[in-house]
């Protein structure tokens, strides 16, 4: 974006500037303000769309040794750590991961004492009632509560201010400029403005022209401007720069902010074909919650980044419906016509698949032995012939949740420099530094835990630093 470079007036000076008004930024701003600092928070979205990706979240993962009001059983530090180790394949900083885990339990109490409501534990869904505390009303309700609290204690909030430039000298933040031409300076900076998945140009650097066909599940404001500015000025990176969390979602979802409802659960119940009407991956490799996050990448590698999940009348009621109705037809030929696929080719793909199915007991609740033999790719479980009309299809595209590239931080949430020293006054929280803990993979609710724990940590240390 071209912005004017005319001399400008410094419009705001404050002890602490927080960039990004999602969960992490709000936790940081409130904590710092409560410690006596003057705090300004700038949010790229307008008031109605504030909160970044947090508005689409619904829970956070919390360690607890005994049941709480919103969690059943126990979820020990070690079990939590083992889960993180497993999903990241070891790409995690154990010290920071354990800080996150240990901070999760007090975070839950802190959120409740700052106006956030949680669902009673018996209402939990998705079998997460032991590990994850659910926000009553979801992420927007959480964000609303924290904004109310922040306003009440005097955090100065500016909406619709997207940072376009950040100026630092010798590892020290000086000021930043927003798209409206305003300048903000502060004694310390907390960056909590997410990754870069909504920046199509940057995504295209890694994915080529395919990036234009990606849907962004969350906010359009995570464009990585601040992240890039800091990386360019000697701040240290963490996480794989080319990777993103990409899931399979309904292709009819909006380009941005489709959120949870674009989720599609049909894939293990049928087959998935690409634009050439060919299957390209084992649809029944494992349970869907363990596989949905690889399908975004798989579809991203297909022509035009589009695929079609095809099921028949036998299974159409067996999964959570997508918000968009299935495309349906009485014959596969007609279905191919509706999807603009080669009808003959689709017929062949389906009959080859149908004939390869071995006699086995179908059971969607277990890794059953209803599988294919002699077809490539095979389907390892839940293989039922597609033979009962009407036939249904859901178009599928990659839906990007977040990117992994971030800023390296220390145990005070202080951003590290490339030379190995810590920045003097720049802190980071939330998605922009989540790669320290989640180098790859994902584990439901950890993003919000990292945001809250490091938000509070950044707020505390930034406030301590600026206090006279």
């Amino acid at each position: 974006m071209k912005v004017d470079t005319k001399p400008r007036v410094i419009s705001k000076t404050t002890n602490i500037l927080v960039i990004g008004g999602g969960h992490a930024g709000l936790c940081a701003a409130i904590t710092a303000r409560e410690l006596g600092a003057s705090v300004t928070l700038i949010e790229a979205g307008d008031r109605a769309m504030r909160g970044g990706n947090s508005r689409h979240t619904r829970n956070l993962r919390v360690m607890h040794n005994t049941p709480t009001a919103s969690l059943v059983g126990a979820y020990t530090e070690n079990e939590y750590w083992q889960d993180l180790l497993r999903v990241t394949g070891g790409q995690t900083n154990e010290m920071l991961a354990r800080l996150t885990i240990q901070g999760s339990e007090p975070l839950l109490d802190w959120l409740m004492s700052h106006g956030v409501h949680f669902q009673p534990s018996l209402k939990g869904t998705l079998n997460l009632e032991r590990t994850n505390a659910f926000f009553l009303g979801g992420g927007c309700a959480l964000i609303n509560a924290l904004y109310i609290y922040a306003e009440k204690i005097g955090v100065c909030i500016h909406y619709g201010e997207e940072v376009v430039d950040v100026y630092t000298t010798n590892a020290r933040f000086e000021r930043c400029r927003t798209a409206t031409g305003r300048c903000f300076s502060a004694d310390a900076l907390i960056v909590a403005c997410g990754g870069f998945q909504a920046n199509e140009t940057w995504m295209a650097e890694n994915w080529g022209p395919a990036a234009k066909n990606f849907l962004i599940r969350g906010t359009p404001y995570n464009r990585g401007i601040v992240l890039k500015a800091l990386l360019d000025q000697g701040f240290a990176r963490v996480g794989e720069p080319t990777q993103c969390h990409a899931v399979a979602i309904d292709a009819r979802a909006p380009k941005y902010d489709g959120g949870i409802v674009s989720r599609l659960d049909s894939i293990p119940f049928g087959i998935v074909v690409n634009r050439e009407a060919e299957r390209f991956y084992d649809e029944g490799e494992d349970f869907w919650p363990k596989r949905y996050a690889i399908w975004g990448r798989l579809i991203a590698q297909q022509p035009d980044q589009i695929a079609y999940s095809i099921v028949d009348a036998k299974v159409i009621d067996k999964f959570m419906p997508s918000v968009f109705p299935a495309i349906q037809a009485e014959t596969l030929t007609r279905l191919a016509g509706l999807l603009d696929l080669d009808a003959k080719h689709l017929q062949t793909t389906v009959s080859v698949y149908n004939q390869s199915i071995q006699r086995g007991r179908y059971d969607s609740a277990i890794l059953d032995d209803a599988r294919t033999e002699g077809v490539i790719p095979g389907k390892s479980h839940w293989a039922l012939p597609i033979d009962t009309p009407p036939f249904y299809a859901y178009p599928v595209r990659p839906g990007i949740t977040f990117t992994y590239l971030g800023l390296e931080v220390d145990k005070q949430a202080r951003v590290m420099m490339e030379d190995g020293n810590a920045s003097l006054n720049v802190f980071a929280a939330g998605e922009i530094m989540a790669g320290n803990v989640l180098g790859q993979g994902y584990c439901a609710g950890t993003g919000m835990t990292i945001g809250g724990v490091f938000g509070r940590m950044a707020g505390t240390h930034a406030a301590n630093q600026v206090s006279p």
Binding site: M49, H56, H117, Q119, L136, G137, G138, N144, I148, V261
Partner: protein
């Protein structure tokens, strides 16, 4: 905003909304609407009407919604259901044609009816015996020097009987076919209503009146109106017992039970409706749902109370006859029109709650 949209279109819009809500379900902890919603994949008109009446319009789900405008999904469940609600009251009312009379013009219809009835009573009193209307009457039985006790009993009794018949028939239209009575569902419903649990926002901190902040103001004002009404009703009942069983004739002294109940309830009937209208007027623009019938019903309740107070305070003056006629006119019209006013929200919501508790 939603005026004049036919019920069929509103049903279609609510189906669109519920399909998105059903794929999200973040609001499942808020209230019974969502607990009921998740049990369905498709929604019949009847089910939608029930869900619309189960909604108490606390608007927590609007403010918590990630798909509210300006998101392109433009979800506003409370406004969608609020638009359906009054149309269901018309659709289920008995006799059907009457309900529409009081919809948007409710205030004027009830005021004109009350004025006409009061005038009719004044003229009747005057014709019967001109000298008694503007005289001072003191002591026990003073009211009945203006109007015969038996006339009041017949007028009040027939009005009440009419409204009971019409309300019962309307309610029968609304109760789902094959629903069986359940004492535990009734108990749960009474418990909900007595504390107005569903005006608590799912966490007890109240509704969203103007913005994302919660407030129990609506709950307290509704308590004032609801218990105020109940106390006034109790005052009438005790007065009837005094007159028909104990043989004591009104007006009763200020420290008597009927008058004390009436004073307390009357204050509630002024504070409650006034507060609710005030909250309605400053509601968030996207969830504002003030209807003509809200104003009409509030004015009816307040006029009932104000005319009652006037009668009580001036009952030893020459104005008593006139005030008695006016108060009677207002109260009788309140009962006659009751099956078609906002009063019916209490009936349909109670039935929707019973049905919810019966099946959940």
């Amino acid at each position: 905003m939603t005026e004049n949209i036919p019920l069929t279109e509103l049903h279609e819009e609510s189906r669109r909304v519920f399909e998105i809500c059903n794929a999200c379900r973040y609001c499942e902890g808020f209230c019974g609407v969502f607990q009921e919603m998740v049990k369905h994949r498709t929604f019949s008109d009847t089910k939608l009407d029930h869900l619309a009446n189960l909604c108490h319009n606390c608007t927590a789900c609007y403010h918590a919604c990630q798909y509210k405008p300006p998101h392109e999904f433009a979800i506003n469940l409370p406004a969608t259901l609020a638009a359906i609600r009054p149309l269901t009251w018309q659709a289920y009312a008995w006799p059907r044609g009457f309900a529409a009379l009081l919809d948007q013009r409710g205030l004027w219809v009830t005021l004109v009816l009350a004025t006409l009835l009061s005038l009719f009573l004044i003229i009747s009193f005057a014709l019967l015996d001109n000298s008694t209307l503007s005289h001072r009457h003191l002591g026990e039985g003073a009211f009945y020097k203006v109007i015969a006790h038996s006339t009041i009993v017949v007028l009040a009794g027939s009005s009440l009987l009419w409204s009971i018949v019409a309300i019962v028939r309307s309610a029968k239209n609304f109760i789902p076919a094959g629903a069986v009575f359940s004492a535990s569902a009734l108990r749960a419903t009474v418990a909900d209503i007595s504390v107005l649990r569903h005006l608590g926002g799912g966490h007890g901190e109240g509704c969203n009146d103007q913005d994302e902040k919660f407030s129990n103001a609506r709950r307290w004002f509704h308590h004032a109106a609801m218990y105020g009404f109940a106390l006034c009703f109790a005052a009438t009942c005790t007065a009837t017992v005094y007159e028909l069983i104990l043989g004591r004739m009104s007006p009763f002294p200020y420290d008597s039970l009927p008058v004390l109940l009436g004073i307390t309830g009357g204050i509630g009937l002024i504070v409650g409706p006034a507060g609710l209208c005030y909250l309605h007027l400053r509601a968030h623009p996207e969830t504002k749902s003030l209807l003509g019938m809200d104003i009409a019903f509030s004015v009816q309740l307040m006029l009932t109370s104000v005319s009652g107070f006037a009668l009580m305070l001036l009952r030893e003056t020459q104005a008593m006859g006139w005030l008695l006629a006016i108060h009677l006119g207002i109260v009788l019209v309140f009962f006659i029109t009751m099956p078609y006013t906002k009063m019916m929200h209490a009936i349909y919501r109670t039935l929707a709650l019973i049905d919810f508790h019966r099946t959940n």
